[in-house]
């Protein structure tokens, strides 16, 4: 292990554990107005008159007519309105915002508002939707020829459901308008996304907008695009009322109104010759929900990963994100990857079964190697350590033995074991870093030698501040105490891009390391110094062509192998995970314990995705809108969970590090379903697969 990887106490440890850390909901509320959204109760409708009760003094209602700039939230496309304009597109679509000094009065008044709706026909199933938001296609090799030459062609459909980020701290912000300047502070991942959105909606010049992150209680993607929406709404109220406006969601509102993981429907056709995959022909359909938000980029990742880690010479993928009248889906750790990786991993196990091969053997035989072409005809430039990692995980889990023993079971309790082999592309897709983000970081040294790290990077629990500090202090060879990483404030920090896409260490961290190297060379005692570092595109990358979707989609990939073992009670359907093993290659960890914590946390979220977390939109209503009916893992479900790191230096990352945060959310779910299908001696095609599904299955086979 490298010296830098040795764990240090996290910088925010004490203030958090002692309860002293101030999240946005903890800030003093004196003189503030509390805001609560008027939300649509119809899935699709025109609306006319809004009848308000008499509002006491100091209570105000704002809607689309009060937006001083553009009534659109800047995300990728600008179709999400700040407040609905005459038509609502999902249950929960914000129509207006009621604010006042007493939260309880605001809630009472809100219930008395009446909206006249003219109901329109909604669409809830993306397969029936006629409205396509985005198409992303891959066309590699000669798919017709591959299928003509195949020994056998397999075809199957797969489905994955909604998943809720379920960060423990709900979305919340405070907007304040003072002397012509709008300040937004609160729980958020991407200060400069919020910045751009607020400037546009409020019609304010950049110098009159300021975004500050408060201590943030988890994000997982759920605070990537959504705070932009909420900030614009809060800003409108602060602008007109001239008072600070605080909006902090309760759990129910957070669950019905904020973005989720996209549900997916995939159809795979796979051509096999001599037990090798020679072609895949894939339809990927993501349910975007009512507005486009981040669906384009989520879909791109899904399409790129649709062929899994396999070397597929002939590949066609038709990806589409369609509109439905449910709450928009957006970013969720893994970002489009978990859906198609689930499909391809299940598909490969089913083919292996038909070929009479062990699934892992079949997968390894088809896995890509360093130098092979990627799904977008780019290249795997760096080592693909999948075989070694697989060996480690299979050994630790005693996979082959168990697989042998778990055949032809008939008793009440049936066991199964399953595996998945996956990757996550590090950083923004394609030329995103170069053309869209154009990251800038700064190091500011004071006369007394304190070094301030200036980036827009946010820490929402993943330990980024500690990690960035380690990168800078280790490079400068100074103690960590001499380096300051503070919560970002757009008045102080340059735009180093959003904290998403497993890019912060690899991209931002790398810029900081370069900056620190320069500072070290130019260091002058007793003088204030400022170093600025700008993004440079790695020159080894094959240029990405956005129109044809070819080239290097990512500079490199993080790899993982997962094994899950279950025991199913055939009387109750109860699925117990009796063991879970994961091996992760995220390059050199900057802090071993932080990385382990990320891997374990993501692992458990993905196990939840596979076998616990079921969220349904029933006629557009999110039925599971509390922790009593949306069940996330507690400490007792996954007690035998083992994470290993496979360390290979990534030469272009700081100290050999590459993308980490999202990787563990990709593989465990398919490994879990593989284990369940092994226990039930069948083939399964959907996630999540919960006790109820086991019972339905057992009833059917009887």
């Amino acid at each position: 292990m490298k010296t830098i990887s040795k764990a240090v106490p996290k910088l925010d440890h004490y203030e958090k554990i002692s309860g002293a850390a101030k999240y946005v909901c903890d800030l003093p509320t004196k003189g503030m107005l509390f805001g609560r959204m008027l939300r649509s109760t119809e899935a699709r409708a025109k609306f006319g008159n809004i009848t308000l009760p008499e509002l006491p003094e100091g209570y105000f209602f704002y809607d689309k007519n009060d937006v001083p700039g553009v009534n659109k939230v800047q995300i990728v496309l600008d179709d999400t309105p700040v407040f609905a304009e005459g038509i609502v597109e999902y249950i929960g679509d914000p129509i207006g915002l009621l604010v006042g000094s007493d939260e309880r009065v605001v809630n009472q008044l809100l219930k008395q508002i009446q909206v006249e709706y003219e109901v329109l026909e909604p669409v809830f199933d993306p397969r029936e939707s006629k409205e396509s938001f985005f198409n992303v296609n891959i066309d590699k090799g000669n798919i017709a020829e591959a299928f003509a030459n195949a020994d056998k062609v397999y075809e199957e459909k797969f489905h994955t459901g909604l998943q809720e980020q379920a960060y423990l701290e709900t979305n919340g912000l405070i907007a304040e308008y003072v002397d012509g300047k709008m300040t937004i502070r609160g729980s958020l991942q991407c200060p400069y996304y919020v910045f751009g959105a607020v400037a546009q909606a409020m019609g304010l010049e950049n110098e009159n907008v300021r975004i500050v992150q408060d201590v943030t209680g988890g994000g997982f993607g759920g605070k990537e695009d959504y705070p932009s929406v909420l900030a614009c709404q809060a800003a409108v109220a602060a602008y007109h009322s001239k008072k600070p406006v605080r909006i902090v969601f309760d759990r129910h509102e957070d669950m019905i109104a904020t973005s989720k993981r996209h549900p997916s429907y995939c159809t795979y056709r796979v051509a096999i010759k001599d037990k090798k995959v020679i072609g895949m022909d894939i339809d990927v359909l993501y349910d975007a929900g009512a507005y486009t938000t981040l669906s384009l980029v989520v879909l791109q990742r899904g399409v790129i990963g649709a062929a899994g880690i396999y070397n597929v010479p002939n590949l066609k993928v038709r990806g589409e994100a369609r509109k439905t009248n449910i709450v928009p889906s957006g970013a969720f750790r893994g970002f489009g990857g978990p859906q198609t990786f689930f499909a391809v991993e299940m598909m490969m196990t089913h083919i292996a079964k038909d070929l009479g091969m062990d699934a892992v053997e079949f997968k390894l035989q088809n896995a890509a190697k360093q130098g092979d072409t990627t799904s977008t005809s780019g290249r795997y430039h760096f080592p693909v350590p999948i075989p070694a990692m697989t060996e480690d995980v299979l050994k630790a889990s005693d996979y082959y033995n168990k697989k042998k023993v778990y055949q032809n079971q008939t008793g009440r309790y049936r066991r199964g074991i399953g595996a998945s082999l996956v990757y996550h592309g590090c950083g923004f897709t394609g030329n995103g870093e170069r053309d869209l983000i154009k990251a800038v970081v700064k190091l500011k040294k004071s006369k007394d030698g304190m070094v301030e790290v200036l980036t827009a990077g946010t820490d929402m629990g993943q330990g980024l501040f500690t990690t960035l500090n380690k990168i800078v202090s280790s490079t400068l060879e100074i103690p960590m105490e001499q380096v300051i990483v503070a919560l970002p404030d757009t008045d102080m920090v340059p735009d180093s891009g959003p904290t998403v896409a497993s890019r912060s260490i690899m991209s931002v961290g790398n810029l900081l390391m370069k900056a620190a190297k320069r500072l070290k060379e130019e260091w002058i005692d007793g003088e204030a110094q400022l170093i600025e570092q700008r993004y440079e595109h790695p020159d080894f990358m094959i240029p990405f062509d956005n129109d044809n979707f070819t080239g290097d989609a990512y500079p490199t990939f993080s790899w993982s192998v997962n094994v899950v073992e279950v025991e199913i009670d055939s009387l109750t359907g109860f699925i117990k995970v009796i063991g879970a093993w994961g091996c992760y290659d995220v390059g050199t960890p900057i802090d071993e314990q932080i990385v382990m914590g990320q891997m374990e946390g993501g692992f458990v979220q993905s196990l939840g995705y596979g076998m616990m977390e079921k969220m349904e939109a029933h006629n557009g209503w999110i039925r599971n809108s509390s922790f009593s009916d949306y069940i996330i893992p507690t400490a007792v479900e996954f007690e035998n969970l083992h994470v290993m790191l496979h360390v290979v230096d990534y030469p272009n990352g700081p100290f050999g590090a590459k993308g980490a945060g999202e990787l563990p959310n990709v593989g465990p779910a398919p490994a879990t379903i593989d284990a369940i299908q092994n226990a039930l001696d069948t083939t399964l095609n959907k996630a999540p697969f919960i006790a109820e599904d086991v019972m339905n299955f057992l009833r059917e086979v009887k």
Binding site: R251, E600, G602, F603, S626, F627
Partner: protein
């Protein structure tokens, strides 16, 4: 009959005279400005609002102020001044068990209650002991390890 509720909060005598139906959680955060107690759901499911009442772990979102006559309430602010906290704090730090931190004050109080009733818990007992507290970040392994370390290092304290 008096309309006030007398109770002790982190060791100090308190006389509460407002709405007896008020949730302890809200009274702590809004009235006493003790914001270390977090709100994650307000319906008894997440444990972020955990406090100790008469030595037992409670979800403060489910406790009415009116029910606290004579009670001893301890929040993270009070607990963080104790020797036991110092041991737990170090143990959590040793394994980097604090991520976003939102569940952590509740988790620490759950750890305290567990160790108070069972100073040498097995791993399974630790898991059951903190199972009323949701954590979305850590996957729990590190927290379970931290409680185990605290039990060892705090030998004799509990």
């Amino acid at each position: 009959m008096s309309n006030s509720v007398k109770f002790r909060l982190n060791g100090a005598e308190m006389t509460y005279t407002e709405n007896p139906a008020m949730r302890l959680l809200d009274a702590l955060r809004e009235g006493y400005l003790l914001t270390g107690t977090k709100c994650g759901c307000k319906e008894g499911e997440c444990g972020a609002c955990s406090v100790i009442v008469n030595g037992q772990l409670y979800n403060s979102c489910l406790v009415a102020m009116g029910s606290l006559e004579g009670a001893e309430v301890m929040t993270i602010e009070g607990f963080s001044k104790t020797e036991r906290f110092a041991v737990l704090e170090k143990a959590y730090q040793e394994v980097s068990a604090v991520q976003c931190g939102f569940c952590i004050p509740g988790m620490v109080l759950a750890s305290e209650c567990l160790l108070a009733s069972n100073p040498h818990p097995t791993e399974e007992e630790i898991r059951v002991g903190i199972s009323g507290n949701l954590c979305r970040c850590t996957g729990y392994n590190s927290i379970v390890a931290a409680v185990g370390i605290a039990a060892q290092k705090g030998e004799g304290l509990w």
